[in-house]
């Protein structure tokens, strides 16, 4: 019911919003209300999940904190809206949230027909399968006839259909509205296989009764570039969100971390670092924010590598290796345009 109501809300908001009036820009709105409203998941370990004190942590959450640092100078000025996969775009379209940072796959349909802009890729992912060890299956090609649980309103549902059709196999899909329902049904034995992005599988596995009884199959059946999303119609806000990630990537490439950023600010002779930290050039001005924007991001949240290691890296319960998410200079895909 809550989902229906939120859908009505967007229909109503689109219908009733005064169309002629010149509204304030997103940046002005965020500055005047004093916080960034950030859409996150309803609990996906490593990406966005509330801890026992109710504060949110994760890669997607840290990205929101980075945006708040750049715009408001304070990473704590973020309010979170937990959203199911099904509701996330409506919340953004209706203006309930300023950024959607919720392990969302960038696809052409979403980018071009939902009135949204993807600002970059915070995590290069791919869809995988998890199955009980005692089923003795070692490859996704042996899954013909399986019952598969997944979350509705995701690219996962369509990739699944494509994969099984392309390989001429049968399957039964049971699609649930929220992640927790998917995990519960899988744990109860309703389905043989749970499918979602591989990073998601690593997180969901921790929620199962006996995580060690389950394995993730080696096949990756799709490309899932996950990234933050903003609504159409405000290019300035789009630029800011886009460059927050680029700043974090450039910082990692230049070796600037949250620990050495103050020292670098004082002593560096590297012009690239100077431009990044705002001691040379006025790059913040072009976006309508302070020139020390990138300094604030790195000081408060850290560079991309720090953000990755803290939330999903090998030393966390998720144990995800950098893999394709390493910098381009280290054989990965993460590449940011230069700050100049």
């Amino acid at each position: 019911m809550k989902r229906l109501i939120s859908t009505f809300a967007v229909a109503g908001a689109l219908g009733l919003a005064a169309s002629g009036a010149q509204a304030a820009t997103k940046l002005e709105q965020v500055k005047s209300k004093g916080f960034v409203q950030c859409g996150v998941s309803q609990g996906l370990p490593g990406f966005s999940t509330p801890d026992d004190k109710g504060s949110w942590t994760g890669l997607d959450v840290d990205f929101c904190r980075a945006v708040a640092s750049a715009v408001l100078g304070d990473p704590s000025k973020v309010k979170y809206t937990p959203l199911s996969a099904k509701d996330r775009f409506t919340a953004l379209q209706s203006g309930d949230i300023d950024i959607l940072s919720r392990n969302t796959t960038w696809t052409i349909t979403r980018d071009t027909s939902l009135g949204l802009n993807f600002t970059g890729v915070t995590y290069y992912d791919g869809q995988g399968f998890m199955i009980r060890k005692d089923k003795k299956v070692n490859s996704a090609m042996e899954l013909s006839g399986a019952s598969i649980c997944t979350q509705t309103g995701t690219t996962t549902e369509q990739n699944l259909a494509d994969f099984f059709r392309a390989n001429n196999m049968n399957y039964e899909v049971i699609a649930f509205a929220t992640n927790d329902e998917v995990v519960k049904a899988y744990d109860a034995g309703r389905c043989d296989v749970l499918t979602t992005d591989r990073s998601g599988l690593a997180g969901e596995r921790l929620k199962l009764t006996n995580p060690d009884d389950h394995i993730v199959l080696p096949e990756i059946i799709s490309k899932e570039p996950l990234g933050p999303v903003v609504a159409h119609g405000d290019d300035q806000w789009f630029d800011i969100v886009k460059w927050v990630l680029f700043a974090q990537l450039n910082a990692e490439e230049l070796g600037v971390t949250s620990k050495n950023v103050d020292e670098q600010l004082k002593s560096t002779a590297n012009p690239e670092v100077k431009r990044l930290l705002g001691t040379e050039g006025k790059y913040g001005e072009g976006m309508g924010i302070g020139n020390d924007w990138a300094y604030l991001i790195i000081k408060n949240v850290g560079n991309y590598g720090e953000m990755y290691d803290k939330n999903v890296g090998p030393d966390t319960p998720l144990k995800l290796a950098r893999g394709v998410n390493a910098l381009w200079s280290k054989g990965g895909l993460q590449y940011a345009p230069p700050i100049r």
């Binding site: 689109l14 027909s113 699944l160 039964e172």
Partner: protein
């Protein structure tokens, strides 16, 4: 014919005080206001959608859906269109509605009559049933049937096996499926003919009873016709209807027909929940028939069962039908709680997955609301027609 009711024009009363003109004028203003509001809503919405470059229109119904659905009453595959997915969802909703209404009615009548039983245990059990089930939220009951009952079921390899024909596991209930070979048409026709014959004989025996007072043993005659005629047809055409038995292959059963656990959980939960309310309607209806009616029937020499069937229930129906209609409507509408357990009903398939993939919230929500409205109105029309038939005819 001079009009005495309305004052002649140019009389003492002014034009604005004419009640006829007034009522028409006010209604016109109200209508204009509604039309204007509606137009403003549509105009604003389309302008805002265009400004944000969000796709609009119903063209998406012809696009390929590209997702699977695990219960389809009509042929559907990943390559079918969103329009087809809409009908799959619609039929799944109707299926829950129809099966749920039948089950709820049967349980409701039994429990309702049980509430008035002279037997203490039956009365107590019925009371407990009503008080427990109608006081728990329906979503909670659906989740109970789904998660609590499902996790107690064995996996497909260790299914509960009933005579090697029916298998119950956490994948659902698997039953043998009839196979229709050549000649099935003849058999189906013969079944239709047998039903028609029974109906005709029924009317004839009634007319005969009214004339002569002699009764015909309808039950054995009817059963004999219904069984023997199709059997003869089967024999003549060489038994064209076969049976496909389920077999365990790999992960799941192949062959046979499968009732998915989501359907079972949803239908059972909604039927038992709604039955609690129906039971109370039935009890109220029976109690509304004054005891004098029963006494009068007894003094005419009718037996207890006859009194209930011929005197009490027909009169009770008049009180039961109107609130029963509301319960039927509630059951159909509550079926949208299916999203909680992944049953592919209209809301899950169309207002869920399709909406998310296409992003066309306004069109899809409008269509979904339209469907529930139409389903509810059809139910009301049928029930109102029935109500008219059983209503008290005042002479």
């Amino acid at each position: 014919m001079t009009d005495l009711a309305t004052p002649a024009s140019g009389g003492k009363t002014s034009f604005i005080n004419d009640p006829k003109v007034r009522s028409i004028g006010l209604q016109l203003i109200a209508l204009l206001a509604v039309v204007f509001l509606g137009w403003m809503f549509v105009d604003n919405a389309s302008e805002n959608l265009a400004a944000q470059k969000i796709a609009t229109g119903f063209g998406f119904l012809d696009n390929t859906a590209g997702f699977g659905i695990n219960q389809t009453l009509i042929p559907y595959s990943e390559t079918s269109t969103y329009g087809r997915a809409f009908f799959v969802g619609l039929l799944n909703t109707i299926l829950v509605g129809v099966v749920g209404i039948i089950l709820a009615t049967v349980i409701g009548f039994l429990v309702g009559i049980g509430r008035l039983s002279k037997n203490f245990v039956v009365r107590l059990l019925s009371t407990v049933y009503v008080e427990v089930l109608r006081n728990l939220p329906p979503l909670f009951q659906i989740l109970f049937w789904y998660l609590a009952v499902l996790s107690a079921m064995p996996g497909p390899r260790n299914s509960i096996n009933l005579f090697d024909e029916v298998f119950i596991s956490n994948r659902g209930i698997i039953i043998p499926r009839p196979l229709f070979n050549e000649g099935t048409g003849t058999v189906l026709w013969s079944i239709g003919a047998a039903i028609l014959a029974v109906i005709l004989i029924h009317y004839w025996s009634r007319a005969r009873q009214e004339e002569t007072g002699r009764r015909l043993p309808m039950l054995p005659i009817g059963l004999a016709i219904l069984i023997l005629v199709p059997l003869a047809a089967m024999y003549v055409t060489g038994f064209p209807i076969g049976i496909e038995r389920p077999e365990l292959k790999g992960f799941n059963f192949s062959g046979g027909a499968r009732v998915i656990p989501e359907f079972v959980a949803l239908t059972v939960a909604l039927a038992t929940y709604t039955a609690a309310f129906i039971a109370e309607n039935v009890r109220a209806g029976i109690q509304a028939v004054s005891h004098g009616q029963t006494e009068a029937a007894h003094s005419l020499g009718l037996r207890n069962s006859q009194t209930l069937r011929l005197v009490v229930i027909p009169q009770a129906m008049r009180v039961i039908i109107p609130p029963l209609t509301s319960q039927y409507l509630n059951l159909t509408k509550n079926s949208s709680l299916a999203v909680g357990i992944g049953y592919p009903d209209l809301v899950a398939v169309f207002a869920g997955t399709t909406l998310n993939q296409t992003g066309q919230a306004i069109e899809i929500i409008a269509m979904t609301m339209g469907v529930y409205l139409v389903l509810s109105i059809i139910t009301s029309v049928i029930m109102n027609a029935y109500n008219k038939r059983v209503a008290l005819v005042e002479r």
